[in-house]
Structures are given as structure tokens and as C-alpha cells.
């Protein structure tokens, strides 16, 4: 059996063990009070099978199926389909990420090309980079006065640093030889930047973008829990308030799958622009 086949088998086995454990853990408690007077049990609400609150696999399956069957249903502000919520979250992430790229890539070029800019801006980057993006939220809400725009800002601020740092690093470490070729061919600054430095640095820039996107997807859930209204993060929080753990678990799985797909997308981009020296 091939390695891939063995790995798939082990993965399937692990999944089966996890699901099995879940199933056992959420089995209805064998009624300890079997001897209880049924009338009394009914009065106490103990006649129905009792669980620990965690949904059983069947309950989770049913909840998931209900969500997946109508992903775009819209029955009021607190009951929108998972598709709509995801679309809002992805929209915010895309917008914040794109704005960050528009700032980080050109600025990273400047920092990578100019040692002066590098030294002058480095203290700011070092101080701003470790700030949790959510710490900006109150300030954003106060200045922007719009919850959706604030969450986009938070995505922007968390995506900008890895892209900025990777772009400047990629630009600064372009091989001297290639720059010398461009110089001896009298290629101008713009042409050298676009046709030599940019393609040379693209793999490193894309690595930065992949990291940024990963962080952005982590942050959007938390940001939406804070600002509310719409989005997958809000959905999780809303379902927690509804005490619908099935929907919470379903949403957690969806967040994981979408995050993986985003990562795969950037992985494919990296492969497309990679080069072998």
C-alpha cells in the first residue's frame, strides 16, 4: 500500500475513534432512577433521555443538514443562513486584506530598497506589530463609527505586518546578479522594479500573504463576536446565546474548512509563482 493510502487509512481510523468517543460520551444516561414513579419522573422532567448538553452525533448531523440545506435563507436579523454569514465574513476579510496588500506591498518595496526608510520605519513596525488587532477595536469604533468598517480595519491592521515585513525582506534580498544584469542593460527604475525585483520577490511576498490571510481568518471570528450583526463570528456567538451547541460546533467546523481552503488557495498561488534557481 502506498504511503498516501496508509496515511488516509490512519486518518480515517483517527476520525472513527474521535466520533466513537463522542458517541459514547453523549449516550443518554442510563436512567439511574428507573425505579422512580413514572408520574413523578414526568413531573420532574426526567422522563426524556438526558444528555450532558453536548449534542449527539445525530443531533449535530441534523443541525448541519438543516444549515446546509438552506445556506442562504434569511428569516430576520437573527436567523440567516450559514452561506450569508460566510459571505459577509469573507467579504470583510477580502476587503481588509486587499487594502492591507495595497499599502504593504508598495511600502515594503520602499523599505526593501531604501536602507534609510528601513531604519526610519523599523521602530514603528516593531512596536505596532505585536499589538493584538482586537486592541484596536475600541479606537476603530470610536473614530470610524461604523461596526462593519471597524472590523475591516481590524483585518487590515492584522494583515498588514506579515505582508510588509516579507515584502521588504524579499525586495532587499533579490540577488545582486539580477540587479547588475538590469543595470548593465540600462533598465530604468520602474522596469527593474516591475520586471526584476517584483518577480524575484513574489514567492516571499506570497508567503507573507499566506500568513496574513491565516491571521485575518483567525481575527475575523473574534472581531465579529464583538461587533455583532452579521458574519460567521457573530453566528457562533448568537448560537451560543441560543444555547444551540449543535450549530456552534457546525460553525466551528465550517470556519476550519474555509480557513483550510483559503490556505490551499495561497499555497497554489505560491506554487504558481515559485521558481527554482
Amino acid at each position: 500500500m502506498s504511503l498516501a493510502g496508509k496515511a488516509a487509512l490512519v486518518s480515517a481510523l483517527l476520525l472513527a475513534i474521535c466520533l466513537g468517543a463522542w458517541h459514547v460520551a453523549t449516550l443518554p444516561k442510563a436512567s439511574a432512577d428507573a425505579a422512580m414513579d413514572p408520574e413523578y419522573a414526568r413531573l420532574m422532567g426526567l422522563d426524556k433521555p438526558k444528555t450532558d448538553g453536548l449534542p449527539t452525533l445525530a443531533q449535530l448531523g441534523a443541525a448541519s443538514w438543516k444549515q446546509l440545506a438552506h445556506p442562504f435563507h434569511d428569516s430576520g436579523s437573527n436567523d440567516k443562513g450559514i452561506g450569508i454569514q460566510l459571505a459577509y465574513s469573507l467579504g470583510r476579510v477580502t476587503l481588509g486584506f486587499a487594502l492591507a496588500a495595497l499599502v504593504a506591498v508598495p511600502l515594503g518595496f520602499v523599505i526593501g530598497l531604501s536602507p534609510l526608510a528601513h531604519r526610519a520605519l523599523n521602530p514603528f513596525i516593531q512596536v505596532l506589530k505585536p499589538i493584538s488587532p482586537l486592541a484596536w477595536m475600541p479606537l476603530a469604533l470610536y473614530t470610524i463609527k461604523d461596526s462593519a468598517a471597524s472590523s475591516i480595519f481590524v483585518i487590515f491592521i492584522c494583515s498588514v505586518w506579515p505582508m510588509l515585513i516579507n515584502t521588504s525582506h524579499g525586495v532587499a534580498s533579490v540577488r545582486r546578479d539580477w540587479l547588475n544584469v538590469a543595470k548593465t542593460l540600462e533598465a530604468g527604475t520602474v522596469r527593474t522594479c516591475l520586471q526584476v525585483i517584483l518577480p524575484a520577490a513574489t514567492p516571499v511576498i506570497l508567503t507573507g500573504m499566506r500568513i496574513s490571510m491565516g491571521i485575518a481568518w483567525l481575527v475575523i471570528v473574534a472581531a465579529e463576536m464583538l461587533v455583532g450583526n452579521l458574519g460567521i463570528g457573530y453566528f457562533v456567538w448568537n448560537e451560543w446565546n441560543n444555547l444551540s451547541l449543535s450549530n456552534v460546533i457546525f460553525a466551528i467546523l465550517v470556519i476550519g474548512v474555509v480557513g483550510m481552503l483559503l490556505d490551499l488557495l495561497f499555497g497554489a498561488l505560491q506554487r504558481a509563482f515559485a521558481y527554482v534557481e
Binding site: L185, E186, T202
Partner: protein, 282 residues
């Protein structure tokens, strides 16, 4: 009008760190149009730095370089460079790498004109059929051929080769040397080339500049290669003067390059070598 040499290098010296002795000093030589000149010397004597100064990529601490009546003050399309590590851009194909140079030289050309010109030079270095390959898919020898095609394609007034065959195996090197001889004979290209390889210098060069060791290196001799110009790898070593010249260069590299650096040249001045092939630089 007096015939000024095509390239004139005067009083060139380079100091990398303030206070340290110069890597080389008072380097002076000339190149005539269409001449193929090799420079030989041990590592660290500043050969590559001299070539970079000629290319305009590096600045001399003192001295000047005049090519075709104009002072060299920066890189120019008039001087094509073949780099030591081929320096091909790995994200471009063979065609893309050469086309990058062609479009630099003739920015107004149409796509078809560029393509036709590139094809001509791909054919010249015998890489026909490999136009769409990326450098990673090429052997070392093929990569260096692309580097040569890229430098020739801009039709420079002078070609600067920085040890272009250093990383190649002997068989590949021989084949490309033959091609270079043929291309240079055809185009009457002026070439300045760095090499470590005495046989290569004898095969290719009309004149060989011998450098003493660094620091404080200088050009000790300018040796005219008196072997007839139609040289080939197959018969050059049968020429009666071949080993005489070869031994002279080897003696220089083994003994005198060091002694000359220490300023005891006269002690080392040997030998029964025919004075006709040799002219000491001042």
C-alpha cells in the same frame, strides 16, 4: 588623426576599506577594436573588480577608463557582460531572458522583431528548440550559452566575460570555447575576459594580461599570443610555440606573480623566453 586605442585604462586602483592597502594599483592597459584580451591572475588580485569597473557597476578609487572616446561612468548597453554565475532570471524562459535584454536595447521594436532577433542569437549559441525552457531545466553549459547569447544580442561595442566557463566541466567548456571563437571571429567583437585557465587564454586571446598577486596587484606583463589566430582546441597544442608560451604563463602564475608583488622582480626575471612575444608594461 592619431589612432587612440578603443579602450584605454589609466592608473586604476581600488581600495575597499579606508587605510587598507589597495587591492590593485596603477593598473593600465589598452584594448584595440576587435581584440580579444584575457586577464589572468590568482584569486584576490581584483580581476573581477576591474571588470566591474569596466562594466560601470563599480567605481575605481582612482584612475579612469575611456572607451571609444568617452569616459566610462556607469553601466551602459555599449558593454555587454557575461556574469560568472550566468545570472539568468529563473522565472523567465530562455527566450524571455534574451528578450529582456533585446527590449532594453531597442525599446521601440515590435513583438515580432524582438522575437526574430532573439531567435537569431538562440540559434547562434545552438540552443534551438530550448527557447521555452526555464534556466532550471538547462544544464550548466546551456545556461552559460544563454548568458552569452544575452550579452551578444544587444550588439555591444565591447563584451566583458567574468570567468564564464569556470563552473563547467571540461568537455562542455571545450565545446562552448569553440563556439565563442567562432562567434567572435564572425562578429569581430572586442572582448575582455577573466580566466583562471591558461589553455583557455591561449585558445581565445590575442593578448594575455598577467596580474601579480593582491593586495597591491598590478599588471606585470602584456603577453601577445603569437599563435596564429585560426586556433582550434584540437591542434593548438601541436603548435611549436604553444608550450613555450604556456610555460611562461604558468611560471608567472607559480613563481613570479608572488615575487613581483613583493617587489623582487629582477631576481625572478627568468628565462629563455623569446622577447618577441613579450612587452613589459611600464
Amino acid at each position: 588623426m592619431s589612432m587612440a586605442p578603443f579602450l584605454q585604462v589609466r592608473g586604476l586602483s581600488k581600495t575597499f576599506t579606508r587605510g587598507a592597502p589597495p587591492v590593485f594599483c596603477e593598473v593600465a592597459f589598452t584594448l584595440d577594436r576587435g581584440e580579444f584580451v584575457c586577464i589572468i591572475g590568482h584569486s584576490g588580485c581584483g580581476k573581477t573588480t576591474i571588470l566591474n569597473i569596466l562594466a560601470g557597476l563599480d567605481a575605481a578609487t582612482s584612475g579612469e577608463v575611456v572607451m571609444d572616446g568617452r569616459e566610462v561612468a556607469g553601466p551602459s548597453l555599449d558593454r555587454g557582460v557575461v556574469f560568472q554565475g550566468h545570472a539568468l532570471m529563473p522565472w523567465l524562459t530562455v527566450r524571455g531572458n534574451i528578450a529582456f535584454a533585446v527590449r532594453s536595447r531597442w525599446p521601440d521594436w515590435t513583438r515580432d522583431e524582438v522575437r526574430a532577433h532573439v531567435q537569431k542569437y538562440v540559434d547562434l549559441v545552438r540552443l534551438t528548440g530550448n527557447e521555452d525552457k526555464r534556466p532550471a531545466a538547462l544544464s550548466g553549459g546551456m545556461k552559460q550559452r544563454v548568458g552569452i547569447a544575452r550579452a551578444f544580442a544587444i550588439q555591444p561595442k565591447m563584451l566583458l566575460l567574468d570567468e564564464p566557463f569556470g563552473a563547467l566541466d571540461a568537455l562542455t567548456r571545450g565545446a562552448i570555447q569553440d563556439e565563442l571563437v567562432a562567434i567572435c571571429a564572425e562578429t569581430r567583437q572586442t572582448v575582455f575576459m577573466i580566466t583562471h585557465d591558461v589553455d583557455e587564454a591561449l585558445l581565445l586571446a590575442d593578448r594575455i594580461l598577467l596580474m601579480t598577486n593582491g593586495p597591491g596587484a598590478r599588471i606585470a606583463e602584456s603577453l601577445v599570443n603569437t599563435l596564429p589566430r585560426a586556433r582550434t582546441r584540437h591542434d593548438i597544442h601541436h603548435h611549436p610555440r604553444y608550450y613555450q608560451i604556456r610555460n611562461h604563463v604558468l611560471d608567472f602564475l607559480v613563481h613570479r606573480s608572488k615575487l613581483l608583488q613583493q617587489g623582487i622582480a629582477d631576481v625572478a626575471a627568468n628565462d629563455s623566453f623569446a622577447a618577441a612575444t613579450q612587452e613589459e608594461t611600464p
